[in-house]
Symmetry: D2
Subunit: 365 residues, 4 copies
Amino acid sequence: MHVGVLTGGGDCPGLNAVIRAVTQSLIRDAGARVTGIERGFLGLIERRVQPLDSHAVSGILHQGGTILGAHNAADPFHWPGNERGGDVSADVLAYARELGLDALVVIGGDGTMRIAHRFQQLGLPVVGVPKTIDNDLLHTERSFGFDSAVAVVAEALQRLETTARSHRRVMVLETMGRYAGWIALEGGLAGGADAILLPELPYDLQAIATLCHEREAEAGFTLICIAEGAHPAGGAMTVQAHLAHSPDPVRLGGVGEALRAQLQPLLASEVRSTQLGHVQRGGQPTAFDRVLSTRFGCHAAEMVARREFGRMVVLRGDACTSVPLSEVAGGSRRVPPDHPLLRAAASLGISLGRPCGAAPSSATP
Amino acid sequence: MHVGVLTGGGDCPGLNAVIRAVTQSLIRDAGARVTGIERGFLGLIERRVQPLDSHAVSGILHQGGTILGAHNAADPFHWPGNERGGDVSADVLAYARELGLDALVVIGGDGTMRIAHRFQQLGLPVVGVPKTIDNDLLHTERSFGFDSAVAVVAEALQRLETTARSHRRVMVLETMGRYAGWIALEGGLAGGADAILLPELPYDLQAIATLCHEREAEAGFTLICIAEGAHPAGGAMTVQAHLAHSPDPVRLGGVGEALRAQLQPLLASEVRSTQLGHVQRGGQPTAFDRVLSTRFGCHAAEMVARREFGRMVVLRGDACTSVPLSEVAGGSRRVPPDHPLLRAAASLGISLGRPCGAAPSSATP
Amino acid sequence: MHVGVLTGGGDCPGLNAVIRAVTQSLIRDAGARVTGIERGFLGLIERRVQPLDSHAVSGILHQGGTILGAHNAADPFHWPGNERGGDVSADVLAYARELGLDALVVIGGDGTMRIAHRFQQLGLPVVGVPKTIDNDLLHTERSFGFDSAVAVVAEALQRLETTARSHRRVMVLETMGRYAGWIALEGGLAGGADAILLPELPYDLQAIATLCHEREAEAGFTLICIAEGAHPAGGAMTVQAHLAHSPDPVRLGGVGEALRAQLQPLLASEVRSTQLGHVQRGGQPTAFDRVLSTRFGCHAAEMVARREFGRMVVLRGDACTSVPLSEVAGGSRRVPPDHPLLRAAASLGISLGRPCGAAPSSATP
Amino acid sequence: MHVGVLTGGGDCPGLNAVIRAVTQSLIRDAGARVTGIERGFLGLIERRVQPLDSHAVSGILHQGGTILGAHNAADPFHWPGNERGGDVSADVLAYARELGLDALVVIGGDGTMRIAHRFQQLGLPVVGVPKTIDNDLLHTERSFGFDSAVAVVAEALQRLETTARSHRRVMVLETMGRYAGWIALEGGLAGGADAILLPELPYDLQAIATLCHEREAEAGFTLICIAEGAHPAGGAMTVQAHLAHSPDPVRLGGVGEALRAQLQPLLASEVRSTQLGHVQRGGQPTAFDRVLSTRFGCHAAEMVARREFGRMVVLRGDACTSVPLSEVAGGSRRVPPDHPLLRAAASLGISLGRPCGAAPSSATP
């Protein structure tokens, strides 16, 4: 049996741990030969692969990134600069046959799974492993990388707290999370944020200013954790207006900086913002993520051995199982307004936004 | 409403995060007054308490240990040096009435919950919060502190790997886990151990020596992670025999050191052992444990507000719920021989022991 | 003897360790009474102090920030909104007499030492302790906080490397250092940067682009560490031009983002930038900084006991000694063009800028 | 020019950073060819080498251990099992000639430098780089690895403090340091130890018990940091007597465990001991150690290029320079009784032993 392994989309702590587990399990339990595809689907398009054996995956458990390389946007069904309207899937399938691949283990997110599903339908047997640092894939309760990102956010907040407390400042930390606020929510809770602003719950600038005022009088400082996709109630207009004259609004400051600029005139304290950026997705996975990645990898290898194709590994409760690839694509798991962690945050007095159309909650004074 | 909070048994990262969440939630959502009992049930015996308000629990989210103090062995039903055969529970109840406590939140393990249950039966309303660094309490999938301990073990293994690899040594790391091997199992997986030895799966010295031999020829080094309660197949006799002339066998070396002494004569490589000890249970909780502790604390406060007494918070799937205190005591969650993590470990080629009475598994060559 | 302690200027890891060491040493060895002044010189203006004893400084060794609070800009000789042209120094001296202060230990940087020196001249005995996260104070080889900032930068670079390597990107990390590039230099060396850009050595955009090109072909990625005060040769004009339409150039992106925007059109690889911000100065001091802070604090206490006033502690070689306050102010220690670390960087092939007026060095291909 | 590189003795964080800096500098600045000798002098005896180029040393800056492998006891002048009384130095010189080595860079401690010196005398040009995790080599103020070990000790003490404080215990931490107490001294200061016991200052058990008693009444707990070579005043007899019936006294418990056993009967609090072991020398070097290692490596390469042979790199003040190999061997830098850090520790109230023959100091009540 000859199995290909591929990591699609952006990098994420734990990818190497999955590659190691898949490779060692396939070699050991299924007697398989394993080949790594370089840089996601790009490797199948440009025909770049490398053999994976015990030696190649030795010592990579702790390493961030992916030894196979990553590419954010290589889609064989839409590959620019190709005469056939960008569809090079037939070439990819031909290459897979040339390699003699009996199956492909595809580690990736929503977009990668959509591509994987199409190859499955075209006859290339596929097993998917969910990868989303934002923890927003449907069907799986947790995915690897998320715990590592949360740990980075929590540590940054803890560092910012000491300087906020000493200088009696308002500190704004912007985290990843364009559509789903899980990282800001768990990172903010773990880091002791006083306000947590998510894409799912538009915030009220005045409520945040009130919180900062109240805290100026007592604790003396305020920590705000804001996801990059968060926006004020009434639309993202205010942020965009503020940044309208900027050539590249997201890069030149981001929503954290925009919130800082809006808050500062309303407050006596100094307001400062920090944007964590790529530091959140680089580096070593936490121990938790190493165990989860290893589990996912071993489960994917078992699925290959059982020829359980066209499905993606998921975690449910404390057990690994799988769902059809067709069910994975086209949706994402956002923070529901009644999630227990939101309830917990509110009962701790953490300021949150409120669902669109909702009346002001008691948590935002 | 006046609520007491108490941390029983040994300390554990995350205790302060629970205390903070319980206190802030009770004050904010239930308008309660909160009193901290010092050093577990000892504070109720010796009448030492302290008021808990927002200020008292500010900034403790990250702190290891417990601001209330801990005591391993204070049981009001068996309190030595008392004329009534050691039962001072009536005094404790009288003191609780004097304080005007309407409820008691008890954070602790198996033994603490047994005591809590008896007080509930005697009329003191109790809500329990599970605390077990070993992750071995029945009914809850995870408890706080465990992730932190696993992280310490994984980091120690990672450190030991560099020296093992450079010197081509066999390194033995002894972890906590007298009856349940969860810490050694997850810590060993996350830290890249080549053999993981648990109390649940007696090990075969010769199989471990064979593994080390094989690795001497290839990778050149071997990492062994052994729980303090692990023992060789055929009984713990060999270890005890080895240490028989030691006045205090567990302290003077432990099972890791005993394994080292047994392995050394069989191998050409040097064998070294390290015992992590209390470093595993001290220090800051991981971000994961801070979130879980906060959730447990908020859920316990909700239970108090709903007068849902005589029950303990548990985590099932991704949801907090509760079970009767009567069901908690008198059992522990050990690693079952068919656990998916054991299967994953075996398919990675990690050497494990085998269940009592089982034939040698393929994982132990 | 009654001694005041004050932390001036911005916060810095290790301030609390100094406060603890000064306080405990003064109490123990000089039998002194110690009073903490709140928020730098603001506390002397607004008459806010707190007693410092063994209990008050217990457990603060590891804490970031300062328990006394900080204020960046409180100068009693220039205090806005005062009828006497802003000079409230006489009030401060009167308050010091009221308190009965025999001496003042002032922990701070260049600006703080200038103020301290004036009070010394006005008859208030002062001992200075150098505080500069940028490590740019004259006369002292090292100051506390710097090692902690370097550690944060090195860890961020290490994280960014995994994602740069996986995605074959150019990653730009902007660090603190407006006038002196020590943090970027040591952080960049420790973090494995391929180019290190300092305020002292204007950079050549084309040389950096060439480096990135060369690395695209080999390693596949490039790590650039740039101090916030770095600028291209030929003047900072290009950066400012790029950001001219931005209302707040430094905040909305900074020089790292400007460099990214300039590099991107020249390269095939994606270029990304990250600005570490306040994360660099918050949080726990490293072990090194705790030892250095403790040493500085104990030495300052000895100087008070010996009535060695009007001087600031400095580290020379491996010994603490002192210099007159008059010599400290009005200068800063910048990275000299012939510094051994620059020579080491060049011989590793790290791209550096070159001194104003210098011909292109061999290190910038 | 063809240069060999060799790491002798035990491993130490920073070795790989030195190897990387030496290799890259020699290739870049001297146009040299570089060959790595495997496992210290063993590689010259057993003729095992590997080529070192830019690719081979890429990405190893952060790695603990040594990519060349280490061997504690391979001395070509005393090599057991050889007909000529163990002297295989002539074979080694012949092999060096066969390889065409023009120079050898030897990274190691006291023992390794002694061997290096003899080869220099026999005509093989040598440059030495000091390596001592204990920081006890003569002539150099700091060596790499030491800062990393101190950081591990400080973190362990910080973890132990939380559990000591919660349970009101006495915690004993045993560190490396058989003859010189630098690790225990700086680690103990950085970790907040209440007593620091060094080989250089025999301790008085009764004084330590008194300290614990005093702290039982106040703080409630005591942290003791003891170097593995520390011993009670009046000779190490008491420890050895205690452990006399143990087959391997150092391994089965060590001096920390012995101190625990001696203290426990004198105290009401529980006493617990932990022995850090190899965790102290494994793992990633700190940022400080990476910079120092890089500097040492680049300086050694410069010395080779200048043909400055027979000398070892040293750090003096903030500058790298060198001393003759003949001056290095046969001595070690121990903590002098009047060292400023000891004075600082005493003025903080930290309990220390006292120099042999000295009267009890005021620091040991």
